[in-house]
Amino acid sequence: MNANLKETILNPIFKGNPITVLVLGICSSLAVTVEMKGALVMALSVIIVTGVSSLILSLLRNTIPNRVRIIVQLVVVAMMVILVDQVLKAFAYSIDKQLSVYIGLIITNCIVMGRIEAFALGNKPIPSLLDGLANGVGYGLILIVVAFFRELFGSGTLFGVQVIPNALYEAGYVNNGLVILPPMALILIGVIIWIQRGIQKDLQEK
């Protein structure tokens, strides 16, 4: 694998993470991170939508009239989002109900349009597909990390399975209700950004 392609894949996962560095897709990452299961499905959905729409638009990139390119992008992304929603409704109804409006809102997730504008329209299909997938993964990773802490401390479970022993509850331990609410997700994402900026000194402003 050549260095460029490797960079395309690895960059969005840590160094140029869409949530922590580009600060895109914050809204949905606050909303769907109460439980690991929902976060995982949301992550997979976004990975599929960003990957496939980047691929399609990269294939079309030389035919798209410049003046209507945003509209063409919207049509393709909207199509992918509706497809994902329909498939979830048919095969994972309870999760679709839980994610409800946020699946539809993937289209407003800036990561998707951002990567298409910035990358897919100027690059060959394969790198575009990888770029889309990798950005989806970068988004998904943060979602899962946040969901891990929120589900563990908010509900005492992981993937719906209780992990905090009953003995601890009997000893007076109480689930933290604040962790369930969106503000705590914002604080958690803030902490992740803080840690990343601590490691990556070049992100710090002078």
């Binding site: 509209i71 393709v76 498939v87 969106p182």
Partner: protein
């Protein structure tokens, strides 16, 4: 080719939209039977929850087919009544062909306008007693709220309730569905058929047997749900008073 000419742009856009529309229509039609089956199983599991046969988690774990079987084996009869409480026709309860009254929205409009309605009554058998399950439907804060109310065979005491919503605020209004403690308040409460309102969701300290506490921080959802429950109970009043 000049991709910036007007003709090209118009043809290109039209083509893309038509292609995408055709693909989506095809997918939607292919998946429709499966989605309908999911919605039906969901509706039935909400009734089973209201009647306290299973918890919601148990229903989710059962899968669609098991939910349908559970319905068919516990239901005694299901039928539609009109707004005067007279029976219109029976609903099919055979496991292969379960018939439900789906159009709650249309019925809600009919009730509110005082037009003729077709209201479903589902009667389940449990431990030799009859549990009557009826739906309710109304407007929450952001979208519709609906649910099922289950009565013991004295036709006024609640054995349970289950509510769902389209887009109430998570953590606040969404508690009508997510908070088991809210639903549990219904158990043992009574519809007061003699008075109006028949049942109420009140702020701070439910004193009467026909009242429960609203949800803190979700005033509008609580009000909407209270109205929904009350409107539908009023509509079923003739039926229950005949019993």
């Amino acid at each position: 080719m000049n991709t910036n000419s007007n003709v090209y742009t118009v043809i290109y856009s039209t083509l893309i939209v038509v292609l995408v529309a055709a693909l989506l229509a095809f997918v939607a039609m292919t998946l429709k039977p499966r989605q309908d089956a999911n919605i039906k199983a969901e509706t039935i599991s909400q009734m089973l929850c209201a009647a306290q046969f299973y918890t919601k988690d148990e229903c989710s774990a059962m899968g669609n087919d098991k939910v349908l079987e559970a319905y068919a084996s516990n239901i005694r009869r299901a039928f539609l009544i009109d707004e005067k409480g007279d029976s219109l026709r029976a609903l099919n309860t055979d496991v292969k062909n379960i018939e439900l009254q789906d159009g709650l929205k249309a019925q809600n409009a009919a009730i509110r306008k005082g037009k003729s309605a077709q209201l479903p009554v589902y009667i389940f058998g449990k431990d030799g007693r009859e549990i009557t399950v009826i739906p309710c439907y109304g407007a929450g804060l952001w979208g519709p709220v609906w649910g099922y109310l289950a009565f013991a065979d004295d036709a006024k005491t609640f054995v349970g309730a289950y509510f769902d919503h389209e887009s109430e605020t998570p953590g606040l209004g969404a508690k009508i569905k997510d908070d088991p403690d809210f639903r549990a308040q219904f158990v043992g409460k009574q519809a007061d058929w003699a008075s109006s309102p028949v049942f109420a969701i009140v702020k701070g300290g439910a004193a009467k047997a026909s009242e429960i506490d609203a949800i803190t921080g979700a005033t509008m959802t609580s009000k909407g749900l209270g109205t929904a429950v009350n409107t539908w109970l009023e509509a079923y009043k003739p039926y229950f008073q005949k019993k």
